[in-house]
């Protein structure tokens, strides 16, 4: 047995449960948590308060980056890696023989506060395997959050997973302590879930998701903005609708197909069960709901003014463990944004940690390029006003390997270009490859007091190596402007340098650029 005692303010940190030191527990339980993607600390602005510890910054803060280049913002750990479930893809599945450990609520609080004070982290991301029962586990999680908030007076960020199958009251309880809640969708289709996560069902994933959404809506009613804001997707959609972009871009322009993305629900997106009501009605309806919810609101919510999961909710899908197309994935993501008002959908390239006949082989490693394209598309939906159906269709269900989704969209819509940057409105500017929300906003602001040059555009953040094929600036072009699809596509591809690891993923197969099917299809 290891008998170590780390002295910290307030005495002994280590509880020698199961003979494991705190170092060993931390190692086991962070190792087991690392496949969860989300580590963001955004969406919550909260000032400090005398006598308490911590605050929260809406933009989120990255505290470090691990060897894989991913942001570390939160202490991301499992409460326990014990698990009664046997999800095929998961390192902690019950049939695996791995070292198991559990924290105590006290240990986790001490770790969180100790790390927080030294500015290692922005807060806690608490997930868990399932010890004994979902309720038992969720209760331990709730107790940890309660202690952190009420005993340690912690005002930093807390992201908490809802355990599928746990009593809704416990999820409700956690929501009043956490800033963000998430339930992992894990696999985008029902079939996928059935084959790889036999203990999870769509119902006990979407159920809590809906409950959390209702909770946030309700908390917003009571506490205003402080109670929780809508997602970026919601706001972009609202502004885009107001600017009439559906009429301008969607009709007849969906990569050659004539469907409206919003239209025809039956043929299009994979169904997410239970939808129906529009948010306003729902907000009202949920207010009259359970009495215990209101008493919790009185007890916890109103007195702290913290709100119910006021930084919103997110989810995560595993990419490449099951045979969905990119089109299915972005459609599911879009549906989640629209129906559950999620802040983020995260995509996690499948890493094969278990040998199982039901899991695919990944000779080229995790599908990182695919994950990268999905994030790009996700951004286009949340901040640019793109609809999933504009980016991909059933006929063309996968992203282009060599062109990012926006460039790919643009070269198929050359009739919209060139765009005159001194005149075009915000949403048209956003359609130009190389122009993002920040630079589009700067352009709109800057032209109020006069014109500017290509050089100024560059300094405003426009990526000219992409934008140059699509814009004029005061009637001028940068170099030759040829609005011919093949020419533009080739130029874009030749200019593009993918991040190194993605280049490896793409070219590792010793394919030359011109052998790539996507490329020769266009070039040929």
């Amino acid at each position: 047995m290891l008998f170590q005692c780390l002295t910290v303010e307030g005495g002994c940190l280590v509880v020698l449960e199961e003979g494991l030191s705190i170092e060993q527990k931390l190692e086991i339980l962070s190792d087991a948590a690392k496949y969860d993607v989300a580590c963001t600390s955004s969406g919550m602005q909260r000032e400090g308060k005398a006598g308490e510890i911590g605050n929260s910054v809406a933009a989120g803060i990255c505290h470090s980056f691990s060897a894989d280049g991913r942001c570390i913002s939160l202490l991301k750990v499992l409460f326990t890696n014990e698990c009664i479930f046997d999800c095929k893809y998961c390192i902690n599945r019950s049939s695996n023989d791995v070292p198991r450990a559990s924290f105590t609520p006290r240990e986790l609080c001490e770790l969180t506060i100790g790390f927080y004070k030294r500015n290692y982290i922005e807060g806690l991301f608490l997930s868990s395997g399932i010890l004994h029962t979902p309720d038992y586990t969720m209760e331990l999680i709730c107790e940890t959050l309660r202690m952190l908030r009420e005993e340690y007076h912690f005002r930093g960020y807390i992201h908490c997973k809802a355990i599928p199958g746990a009593n809704p009251l416990l999820i409700e309880y956690a929501g009043w302590y956490a800033d963000r809640m998430s339930v992992n969708l894990e696999l985008p289709t029902n079939e996928g879930l059935r084959s790889l996560a036999p203990n999870k069902t769509r119902k006990n994933i979407l159920g809590p998701m809906r409950q959390i959404q209702d909770g946030i809506a309700e908390s917003r009613q009571y506490l205003g903005m402080k109670g929780g804001n809508h997602s970026a997707f919601y706001f972009t959609k609202k502004a885009a609708t107001k600017a009439g972009i559906e009429q301008r871009f969607y009709n007849d322009r969906i990569n050659g197909s004539n469907r409206k993305p919003e239209g025809d629900k039956k043929s299009e997106e994979p169904k997410l069960s239970e939808e129906k009501k529009i948010p306003e009605e729902k907000e009202k309806a949920s207010l009259q709901k359970t009495s215990n919810r209101l008493s919790l609101l009185e007890q916890v919510g109103r007195s702290t003014g913290r709100g119910f999961a006021a930084a919103g909710q997110s989810t995560q899908m595993i990419i490449g463990a099951t045979p969905e197309t990119d089109y299915q994935l972005v459609s599911v993501a879009e549906a989640l944004y629209r129906k559950f008002d999620l802040k983020r959908v995260f995509y996690s390239a499948f890493v094969k940690v278990n040998e199982d006949s039901l899991l695919p082989d990944l000779p080229g490693g995790p599908p990182l390029l695919r994950e990268h394209r999905l994030y790009q598309a996700d951004w286009l939906m949340r901040y640019y006003g793109f609809a999933a159906g504009e980016l991909l269709t059933e006929a063309r269900p996968n992203f282009n390997a060599v062109l990012d989704p926006k460039c790919d969209w643009a070269v198929h819509h050359m009739e919209l270009f060139p765009v005159e940057v001194l005149k075009a409105d915000y949403f048209l500017l956003l359609r130009v490859p190389g122009i993002g929300p920040k630079s589009a906003k700067r352009i709109v602001e800057a032209r109020r007091s006069g014109s500017f040059s290509f050089d100024d555009l560059k300094r405003m953040g426009v990526v000219l190596k992409r934008a140059q094929y699509f814009i004029t600036c005061g009637g001028k072009t940068l170099g030759r402007l040829c609005l011919e699809e093949t020419y533009v596509t080739q130029s874009l591809i030749l200019n593009e340098k993918l991040p190194k690891n993605l280049q490896d993923a793409l070219y590792g197969r010793q394919m030359s650029l011109f052998e790539l099917p996507a490329f020769s299809a266009v070039a040929g």
Partner: protein, 263 residues
Amino acid sequence: MQMENLYIYRCEDSVEGILTGIYDAWASIHRHEENRIEVCGKEWEETRLFAEYITVIPDAEKSEKVQRSVRLRISEEAYEMVMKAILSQDTEKGEVIYRFLLYAFREGARACRSYGNPWVMRLFEAVRNYDNESHHLKGFLRFDAQENGVLVARYAPKNNVLGDLMEHFSDRLNSESFLIFDEKRRIMGVHQKDSAWFIYRLSPEEAKDFSDTYVEEDSYGVLWRIFHRTIAIADRENPGLQRNNLPLRFRPYMTEFREKTLA
């Protein structure tokens, strides 16, 4: 070469120094085109022939006057940009601010967004650089708990972002006593538990004393390194991406990059 008169105002690198320089240049009888504002580094830049050098004596009152007119006659936003630019690493910031103000007093509040104007753009870039580094350091700064409970951080930023950081951490850690020491400028931000913060300039001897007594780490450093190592996914290792996101220059001060194991 064109022969013209040049009057170069040499200012100390401080709010008072730079704003007094601008005040003096403005109040002078020369045309604006003939004036230059130069901020001193350690030594003066090379001396130009045919130029008259004016050494600016920092003056609180003049500096106040400039600040007031920027706030009243341009905007709060312009004021904030100018103050950040003064703390930025831009070596020509005096000149940039002078030219920006000339333009902005004429154009009013919208000048701050007139990115087509080269001086506005220069100011914007200096401010953006300052803001980015400040934001980075809110995450990358590391405190080590000393035996007396005081949290101590050391760093050497390119821009002088200490004020920003003190503002941030005194809200966040209001019940802690902490120090942030800028080794490059030898200035220290001091926050005493439950009271207001201030910035203090250390003499070389004091700085040495400080370095000698400072204890680099407590037991949490070990735990943090365990976490930092374990949380990475080996199949996705990508040092290039890690370096882009977390430039090497920050790492010497960061707990997770110290090569230490349990003693």
